[in-house]
Symmetry: C2
Subunit: 324 residues, 2 copies
């Protein structure tokens, strides 16, 4: 059974919620290895009356630390140890709700990049009910070269196939219009490269197209991707609120009737969202959970990592890069 290492010290609600998430995932049959301060983790496990293997890692990389320096200067940090466990083969992947920069550094430097990958990227599955869409890069690489868009397209396609079960996923380039002449030099050059790439490329898509069902994978630089993803999430919350306040005024009984279902869906979406995203392009599985992840989201992230390993996500990406 492949083991997933959990950075139990990372995240706003660590170690309480990380350990609780690990306990829930273990109950679902996932082989979890806790990485963090042993006495603290043992204390947490005692509350649950559960035993889980622990690897001692007394330090944590802070959100304000400069990631690459931190992972070099704090070798006993929980996230650094997680990366080591993957590189030695003691774990097939890791999950962290701590600093995204630190996880990125651990993936790129600690675990190592796959041949042909210039930098790992974040492939985020946007939970759009009628059309789950993978966004790559969702925030790892703020400035990218056109050729990296091709890497994102290949990696995003594999994630769409393996995590969302979408065969031959359609890939679109996020741009400010659909015409070939649109975009910055980056998008115009990227468009030409994507047309030649071994992916099912459908052309430019706009900010509105994630909702229209015309693509399964959206590629963009990590800056635009980050703004895009946060905007979608905030818009959903904003409109949902506006609806309920209108409905409560017009028809309070109806509002009471639908609110529970919508709230449940909202919580579900939030857990999905906080469970995080695959960090792709490294040797092994890395899932970055949201800093606010609570136990349900941590458990889900562990499940994601487990499934990523089962579906040979990293190996499939490696194979696909042989054709590039």
């Amino acid at each position: 059974m492949p083991t997933i290492a959990l950075d139990a010290g990372g995240g706003d609600f660590a170690p309480r919620e990380t350990v609780a998430g690990a306990v829930a995932a273990a109950a679902d049959g996932i082989d979890v290895l806790l990485v963090g301060d042993r006495p603290v983790l043992e204390g947490e496990l005692e509350h649950h009356g559960v035993e889980l293997p622990i690897i001692h890692a007394p330090s944590v990389v802070g959100m304000g630390d400069f990631p690459i320096r931190a992972i070099r200067e704090v070798p006993d940090a929980s996230v650094v140890i997680c990366g080591k466990l993957v590189s030695t083969g003691d774990a097939v992947g890791f999950v962290s709700a701590g600093s995204t920069g630190a996880s990125l550094a651990v993936a790129a430097v600690g675990m190592g990049r796959l041949p042909g990958v210039s930098r790992p990227a974040i492939a985020s599955l946007m939970p759009i009910p009628w059309n789950p869409t993978v966004l790559c890069d969702a925030g790892a690489n703020l400035a990218v070269r056109p050729s990296q868009l091709v890497e994102f397209a290949v990696m995003g396609s594999v994630v769409a196939e393996t995590t969302a079960g979408i065969p031959n996923p359609r890939v679109g380039l996020l741009n400010n219009g659909s015409e070939d002449s649109k975009g910055r030099e980056m998008e115009r050059e990227g468009l030409a490269l994507l047309r030649e790439a071994p992916v099912n490329f459908v052309g430019n898509v706009e900010g509105s197209d994630f909702a229209t069902g015309v693509v399964d994978v959206i590629v963009t630089d990590g800056f635009t991707g980050n703004v895009f993803l946060k905007t979608v999430e905030a818009s959903v919350v904003m409109v949902a609120k506006a609806f309920f306040s209108m409905l409560a005024k017009k028809d309070p009984e109806a509002e009471e009737k639908v609110r529970p279902q919508f709230s449940a869906q909202g919580r579900q979406l939030m857990d999905d969202r906080h469970a995080g995203a695959h960090l792709v392009g490294a040797r092994g599985i890395a899932v970055i959970a949201h800093g606010h992840a609570k136990s349900a989201a941590v458990a889900k992230a562990l499940q994601m990592a487990h499934e990523g390993s089962e579906s040979r996500l990293s190996e499939q990406i490696e194979e696909r890069f042989h054709c590039l």
Copy 2:
């Protein structure tokens, strides 16, 4: 009474909807000058039984034409004549639902930039009910220098004051996180410049912050701004649909009760959206309406241009740039 020139030949539904919009605006007391193919416009006006002044401009700049070249090579295009009318003082501003690139070229070259403005930008008022927010640049300048962010902040602030009546508007820089270290070199340098700028700068904001009410003006490059704006709009439509389909299943009567109000609000938002945005930084008023603008949106765009002139939008921007 200040005259607004309407590019009656521009837009997907020209001249029918542009002329109908002009007729509606004229009925509301706005002094409109139609610019386009005289016989065609006279035919349209006849349907309405209304007389409006016409300036003959037999050509139109197409959506596929390269804007700067088009406005040089097609001097009798309706949007080019609009710009000329503003530069000669025969009109205080113009409205066009045609090619945005052509309007930009007309504003920058035909009307001319205000001193200190490197390029005109699009200042789009996002109709968020509890917090109208100005986005600048919403799509004119895809790649910008950090110093241009300061220009966008100043121009966006004046638009927030004059069109949304927000005193001392709070300005935020769209970024991938709130910390100072976030963003590309552009944002990090821009942040430092904005801190020194004569605007009410509150720091970095994220894609989610347009909904939280923490800012009145969001500045960003035109590429990110375009993606951001289209994403917000699409998200609203997406959630609205999901909500109604859920409500229809759970409580069809309630759905029937609230749908009319929401549909009316939706139409209103759509008209507001299609009415377009101020193109700021040129000598005079320029409002770019959406290509899909129907008569109500065209009338609203003419109203926007009229109000922009009444509130001395261009002059106020010019004055503010004296302090830079």
